[in-house]
Amino acid sequence: MKRRLRDIPWAVTMLVPSMALLAVWTVYPLVKAVQNGHLSCDSTGNRCTDAGWGQYKVVFLSNEFQHALLVSIKLALLTVPAGVVFGVGLAVLADKQLRAIGVFRTIFSSTVATSVAVASLVWFVLLQPQIGVLSDLFSGWFPVLKNPGLLNDHGTALSAVALSSIWANLGFTFIIVTAGLQSVPRELYESAYVDGAGSVRRFTDITLPMIMPSLLFVSIVLTTRALQSYGEIALLTGGGPNPQKSTTTIPYLIYGQNSIIHNNLQIKSAAAVLLFLISLVFAVVQFRGFEKRVHYGS
């Protein structure tokens, strides 16, 4: 106990750098945003009046925010389950002791090293209706690729953005799930094999329960990323196609270059704080949903 007390100054000293960074770059802006959210100011933020906390409610209930919330949720539903399934699939495929498996692992995880901007640019060029390779090759079967283009069609734009997003996040999911798989004790598989369990049974009864902590982590991160996605929207669709604004997510409503609240920092702050709360709700719900199934091992 005494020893622990003596460690405190050291612990604090060690934590100061990261706590200072967190305080300056995360906590302070968050507090400031919460404050800003109930003000109404001129463009420079110098002359302000109190708009009341009701401003949060007005923003939340506004047509634009509700629309953006729906788009954000759709994007999460399109990207998270598919992202997890593909990530687990690839990880299971690569979890074999084969020759040159390292090459495949490198390829499968390579999108981690790809920035959102680069990934989006790649997909933008692939999907471009006039000069894109995909429209050249497949527009015979899928005319939408050419006219008006996957990213320009109200019905397909969000899915196209999701496709780019899933691809870009695949490497991350792959690495986390691979790490989870490697921590599964091999004896479990061996005894199941001896008991006559087939490969499907081994996957559902051993692999899945054992990698639950990884899956929980991956789905929470992917959901948060989906709710916060901005770069791919800005580069691929600009929130469009108009007039339906099919890909205007909450972050794009806030920061997008064609945002109609561009010069109103206070409304933008309120929307950003609401996005934080919504992400929090989703994370809590996912924790609850997974809770009983997550075994963190001994």
Partner: protein
């Protein structure tokens, strides 16, 4: 117990999602939030044609020059040593390289002033400038044209008109419309620096195939339609023109251009230049006629709508290079001419080579010439230091001098802000070698001497464009023209009222 738990969790996820949305259906526009009372009707619910702010009509006024900060342009003479000033700008890539080159030459040419460049995007520069305290602002700042009213409202700058007067600076060679773009209520607020305007790009080869004169692009909207009909009916190309609805192009900025070409105001208060604008006018007959015309081109399959032109901003130009279903023409900013020719010289598009590209003035109602300027201007910041103000002015006059404008225009593709720059090399040679580069300049020079030749100025200009772009997209997709414009006008007016309440 052993069933797929990921399915279970995703169904929870769906429930949570639906709960969030279901708990709150209905509500006003986000633009109606804020503590200040706005009288605007939510879009779609308002009476068509009644603007939110129609009760507070704009009145003519001029700003008394005496009330604005002075410009002691001779302060530099009494300084000893070097005055260092900072210049925030939004030029990137090749544009940044050229600005650095010009600035290095300036710094090396004398010892009194040293300029430090701080580069960001237009948006970053604008946001940083607005949010910074006066002490943290630069001494000179470049702002895009849509920021004019916002910067005036910060009351943080020295109007360049005062510097022009104090130093007896000769502006006679400047394009009048370029100066007018940065002047309101009798005050010259900032100095045009890099300017561009929209021009017509067309495929000469298609014109020849359609039996049209490849050196006579359409001047009027009627000719544009007639030429398109000929192009489509002869099968020279699938479409006459590629239209788009980007907010800083076909969906917003071009509509402002067409209003100016019709000698019509886009905003009240004479485009916000005689008095603070309170509402948009684009849902009037001029706007309805124009958008009905564009919708007609689409309906008659003479034009193709390429959407919002998001991402690269080149979807409309690429439509001209489409191998299967090309368009013969499109409208794009003159600033893109250099990059477009550069790309086409690569030879990737056999159906459209660099030599095939023709450039004509932007077609307008009745073929009237003229254009509004795009690009950005230079603002002298009121730093409180006479020496810095004088230094900023000295550097500014260097950047807009004929020789520098000639160099700037020939490398960047912008149009020089003054006529005498076209008589100096290297720009003189550029024009002589390729007359396509002079189209935008000639078009601007031909702008009528009318108050409508200075474009709209209003605090939330960008947001107003964005709202209109949504309506234009709906119209190009077949929506009712008048109703769409009325809805957009209501929403735009709410934005303007809200801005004026906060900043007026």
């Amino acid at each position: 117990m052993r069933r797929s738990s990921s399915r279970r969790s995703s169904s929870l996820f769906v429930l949570a999602a639906l709960g969030l949305v279901a708990a709150c259906s209905g509500g006003g526009s986000i633009t109606n939030s804020g503590g200040t009372t706005t009288t605007a009707a939510a879009p779609g619910t308002g009476t068509p044609g009644t603007g939110a702010a129609s009760t507070s009509a704009a009145t003519t006024s001029t700003v008394p020059l005496d009330s604005l900060p002075g410009c002691p342009t001779d302060a530099l003479a009494s300084t000893t040593g070097t005055t260092t000033i900072s210049f925030w700008h939004g030029m990137s890539g090749a544009l940044n390289d050229e600005l650095v080159k010009l600035t290095d030459a300036y710094n090396a040419s004398q010892t009194k002033v040293k300029v430090k460049l701080v580069q960001g995007s237009y948006e970053q520069t604008a946001d940083n400038y607005l949010q910074a305290s006066q002490g943290n602002r630069p001494d000179l700042v470049q702002m895009p044209e849509y920021m004019v009213q916002s910067i005036i409202d910060t009351k943080s700058t020295v109007p360049v008109g005062k510097c022009i007067a104090a130093s007896k600076f000769d502006t006679s060679a400047f394009l009048p419309s370029a100066l007018a773009a940065y002047s309101t209520q009798g005050v010259q607020w900032s100095m045009p620096f890099n300017i561009s305007n929209p021009v017509l790009f067309y495929n000469k080869k298609v014109f020849v195939a359609a039996g049209l004169d490849p050196n006579k692009p359409p001047q009027s909207l009627e000719e544009l339609k007639a030429d398109s009909q000929k192009i489509v009916s002869t099968g020279a190309a699938k479409y006459g023109i590629a239209l788009e609805s980007g907010f800083d192009s076909g969906g917003g900025w071009y509509v402002e251009q067409w209003f100016a070409k019709s000698e019509q105001f886009y905003l009240d208060g004479q485009n916000g230049r005689q008095a603070r604008a309170t509402k948009v006018l684009y849902n009037n007959q001029t706007g309805v006629d124009l958008l009905t015309y564009l919708q007609g081109l689409i309906n008659d399959k003479l034009a193709v709508n390429v959407g919002d032109n998001s991402g690269s901003g080149y979807d409309n130009l690429l439509k001209m290079a489409d191998a299967k279903e090309p368009a013969a023409m499109t409208i794009n900013t003159s600033a893109s001419l250099g990059p477009v020719l550069e790309v086409l010289k690569g030879g990737q598009f056999p159906q459209l080579t660099a030599d095939d590209v023709g450039v004509g003035p932007m077609p307008g109602p009745d073929g009237k010439p003229g254009a509004l300027i795009g690009g950005a201007s230079l603002w002298v910041v009121n730093s409180g230091s006479d020496a810095k103000t004088a230094a900023a002015w000295d550097y500014l006059t260097y950047l807009v001098a004929a020789q520098q404008q000639s160099e700037w225009a020939s490398t960047t593709g912008y149009i020089p802000v003054r006529t005498d720059a076209t008589t100096l090399d290297p720009y003189k040679t550029t024009l002589a070698t390729d007359p396509r580069f002079s189209v935008a300049f000639d078009q601007l020079k031909a702008s009528p001497d009318a108050p409508t030749s200075a474009g709209p100025v209003v605090g939330p200009l960008r947001e107003v464009r964005s709202v209109l772009a949504t309506a234009v997209a709906a119209i190009l997709n077949g929506a009712d023209v008048k109703k769409s414009l009325d809805n957009a006008a209501n929403q735009a007016n709410a934005l303007i009222t809200d801005y004026n309440n906060r900043n007026g």
